[in-house]
Symmetry: C2
Subunit: 233 residues, 2 copies
């Protein structure tokens, strides 16, 4: 029997129309939609973004929602990912195509990579469909360019001493999920004496999107800060 295909799909930052045509076609075609969620009680954000596409489907589909809790314990996390990979393998072995949907892009800070690394070595056909990243979505909403000419752009997922060290070597910095550590971020950025423009975007491309100058000061999870230094050191 022919085995199913495993497809990673980036659903973009939030607005359903920011999915690619290729992603929409795949979502209309696969047998299973796999949408991990961080809490049993909390619906998957990626799933809510594609819900209107799924509602318009003419054929039936099944939804898999494995739990990927936000915990630090590496051993426990590995077990969750392995269990999800096993669940997916069972479906692929049964000849069903599985789409794993993920916010933004599947290759950029996505839990997709942990599951994909487990599936990749096995004998399945795979495909990754890229998605609009949060940072290009944010730049588009804020109507600013991220980088021009020879400018070096740096994407930083965590604010710590490594950010302070790399800062002088780059021109544009995108700091993801900034609300988790906004005081330290502000301190590190302000220690750099170059002229700068700081813009933060919360819930990019969603109905409650907020764009403002400066740093994020509340605890919304999907918050991104863009820092553009205006002259090179």
């Amino acid at each position: 029997m022919k085995k199913g295909k495993f497809i990673g799909i980036g659903v973009g930052p939030g607005e359903p129309d920011l999915l690619t045509v290729k992603a929409v076609k795949a979502l209309n075609d696969v047998d299973i939609i796999c949408a991990p969620k961080s809490k049993e009680s909390k619906p998957s954000l990626a799933l809510s973004i594609v819900q209107s596409i799924l509602d318009d489907r003419e054929s039936d589909y099944e939804t898999l929602e494995p739990l990927f809790p936000m915990i630090e314990d590496e051993t426990a996390l590995h077990e969750y990912w392995s269990r999800a990979a096993e669940l997916i393998s069972e479906k692929l072995d049964a000849g069903l195509d599985v789409a794993f949907i993920t916010l933004g892009d599947p290759t950029v800070y996505s839990t997709f990579s942990y599951v994909f690394s487990r599936i990749k070595g096995l004998d399945y056909e795979t495909l990754i469909i890229p998605g609009i990243t949060s940072f290009t979505g944010c730049a588009a909403s804020a109507k600013i360019s991220l980088a021009e000419k020879d400018e070096i752009m740096v994407i930083v997922p965590k604010v710590d001493e490594r950010l302070a060290q790399i800062l002088e070597h780059g021109d544009t910095f995108v700091i993801m999920k900034t609300s988790r550590h906004s005081d330290l971020l502000e301190e590190v950025i302000n220690n750099d004496k170059r002229d700068k423009e700081v813009i933060s975007v919360q819930n990019c491309s969603m109905k409650d999107e907020t764009i403002f100058n400066g740093f994020s000061n509340n605890k919304k999870y999907l918050s991104t800060t863009i820092v553009k230094f205006k002259d090179k050191k």
Copy 2:
């Protein structure tokens, strides 16, 4: 009279299905498609990517193809951009909506930004529709993740001493258009003694896409190299 709307559209790396649904809707709706080209004799790559969408349009549209030559002379370049902006303004003043199409994303190393900065200050409605960047397209094609967990990702448009300086501070490096300076790139990367994975992609998502381990060694223009260091310094 109502003025037209100026829309920047990222058409992604090359495969027409990698446009977003939002981009396709806009391309079906606008009056004018503006697609800059680098030589009079050379068709615009961005335009060729959306040609099948335009061919399916039911309503008429007009194409503007201003010349943006690949020259170093800043003063001459500014004149080309200003002239393009004037051309676009005339159409907007006449109440026509203009879409400026650009390879990849309009906010990432795009000539769109130079025209947008001239239009932005004027009294027109504007919109930027993000596109799939070359680097997420390349990572999807190569089936690798660009960054995970706390890894810092750096996008570098030019190989020079600044790359050598920033190298030890990041984990993943995307070097754009690498064929222009591949020997120096190889030298700089090999000077870093960390374990690394090097993958190059040429003509990402196009019919003649090529993916290979190591550095690019021919002169194709649309070539990207991804370097992933495997342990932090």
